[in-house]
Amino acid sequence: MLSVRDLGVAFGAVEPLSGVSFSVEKGETIGIVGESGSGKSLTAMSVMGLLPLIGGRITGGKIVFDGQDLTDLPERAYRKLRGGRIGLITQNPMTSLDPLKKIGPQVDDVARLHLGMDATQARARTVEILGTLRIPEPALICERYPHQMSGGMKQRIVIAMALAADPDVLIADEPTTALDVTVQAQIIRLLDDLVKQRNLALVLITHDMSVVAQTCDNVVVMYAGRAVEYGPVETIFDRPRHPYTQALIACIPRGLEETARLTGIEGTVPTVINYPKGCPFHPRCARAEAICATDPPDFSVEGDSAAACHFAEVAHAQPA
């Protein structure tokens, strides 16, 4: 349904994104994981055609949606896709709704815009969608203003808006970051159900490996604007071959015994202007050797997964 091939993005002279590839079919969920600053949101914005609006441009690769290359689609045509066939849920539901408009009209607008419905039809559809998102008393909610609602509820409204025009692809960019843990779980379960019920293709962007493990079919691990490992979720979790993936998995809190300690990854993602030479992860990598600082690694393919590491062939010792 949606496939991104070797995508590169530049802002002026800096190139924060290069060589990102993934694809997702209907009824499937793909997870894009990585720390903050690894280029996940930028990937989402590229797919949505929002780069020109923020001063960026695509330098290479292809974004193919339903057989159509989107990389040089004009803005006017893109507007029909945005919200129409590709829905986007952003990180911050608290501020994603117009504070002066009631919930109903805001959701109605999407169906009116993309499906050409009149006010009555659109409202009927809004109520129906709010219902499927397990929002109690949808007709009443339509008359509320955003400030009268909780964060979890607002996020559901934002999801409702993304679904209102019945899109084929839904991109969820850290949909749960701003929510508390119990609500997070509800939202993730909701998205998972939607994929099955509506046969959606879901691109789930997150930094939470445990969310990926629960919901995704395939995973792309991103680091410093590059994909470093990809493959089916079982393979990636059972046998991660890139040290970064291993480190991310090691960060998932597990075990209830009192001795259990939370692990982290030392250091931070480099900023765009000082991406290191060679393998971008080498300064933080426990396994790094001389070659890692000089030569960027190629993908080493094994079955249906691949990892960009010079030592991917070697069975890495699982970090404890």
Binding site: M48, K80, T95, S96, D98, L100, K101, D109, L113
Partner: protein, 293 residues
């Protein structure tokens, strides 16, 4: 139809939530009450005024306040009270019309400049800033000098004098709002620029513009009186507070009531407008958003 019902709803909400709250305080009630009274007086002037504002009676010129001329008469024996009442019509209508024109034009220019940016924005803002570098009265005088004195030119002169304020304020609001997440979210839903601008940006930008407009009506009244004082506004016998004061200067010591009462009318009206405007700012809680102006 969509847009008008939308505007009606926005205004309705605005009225219930903010203007109502502005009236709630003591000062707001007194100032707002006075303004409503003044508007009613202006509308019903022909029924309220005890005499014809233009009727001369040279036998009774410069009569001091008393009965039947409560505020006395001027040098032609015209009733000062009636002229002050009819003068409210001139002052309020000229100022309100001018500010309405100025607001409409300023909001359009400012919104377009803030939203589209680029060369258009720079061109508009340069011209607008240029007009702002002159005092209001000078711009108004230049304008009246070009197209000649009268109420129409006074109206347009005031409108142009305040255009910069509305343009700058609206632009500042739009530029700020444009970066808000909910506007980005609307872009993500595939909305076109006119939808974003008219349905989302403008309703969110309008509150401070309305308050500044309210306060500008006070300034407009002063400017109208000033132009009237110089003989560039309302032409005789149309009564205007400024023109009345101007003619009163000649008999300042002989019959001070001719200049005092229109002066008091201007002062009290402008004070009421400003006090009510301040209450409105408090009610809308937008003090920090007015800094862009």
């Amino acid at each position: 139809m969509k847009a008008s019902s939308m505007t009606a709803r926005t205004l309705d909400t605005f009225a219930r939530m903010s203007i109502g709250r502005a009236f709630a305080s003591g000062i707001g009630m007194v100032a707002g009450g006075f303004l409503i009274l003044l508007v009613l007086v202006a509308i019903f002037a022909p029924w309220i005024a005890p005499f014809d504002y233009a009727a001369q009676n040279l036998m009774n010129a410069n009569a001091p306040p008393g009965w039947p001329h409560l505020l006395g008469t001027d040098e032609f024996g015209r009733d000062v009270l009636s002229r002050v009442i009819f003068g409210a019509r001139t002052s309020l209508s000229v100022s309100a019309t001018a500010i309405a024109i100025s607001m409409a034009a300023g909001m359009t220019l400012g919104a377009a400049a803030g939203y589209f940016g680029g060369f258009f924005e720079r061109a508009v803002m340069t011209v607008v800033d240029l007009t702002w570098s002159f005092p209001d009265i000078l711009i108004a005088l230049i304008f009246v000098a070009i197209i000649g004195p009268g109420l129409t030119s006074t109206t347009f002169a005031i409108a142009i004098a305040y255009l910069a304020q509305f343009t700058r304020l609206t632009r500042a609001q739009i530029v700020r709002l444009k970066r808000e997440t909910f506007i980005e979210a609307t872009v993500n839903l595939g909305a076109n620029p006119s939808h974003i601008l008219l349905r989302h940006l403008m309703p969110n930008a309008i509150a401070p513009v309305i308050v500044v407009g309210m306060l500008a009506i006070g300034d407009g009244i002063v400017l109208e009186a000033t132009l009237g004082f110089f003989g560039l506004g309302a032409q005789p016998p149309t009564p205007s507070w400024g023109a009345m004061m101007s003619s009163g200067t000649a008999q300042l010591f002989l019959s001070p009531w001719v200049i005092i009462f229109p002066g008091v009318a201007v002062a009290v009206t402008v004070i009421a407008v400003n006090l009510f405007g301040d209450e409105l700012i408090r009610a809308l809680d937008i003090r920090d958003r007015l800094r862009g102006a």
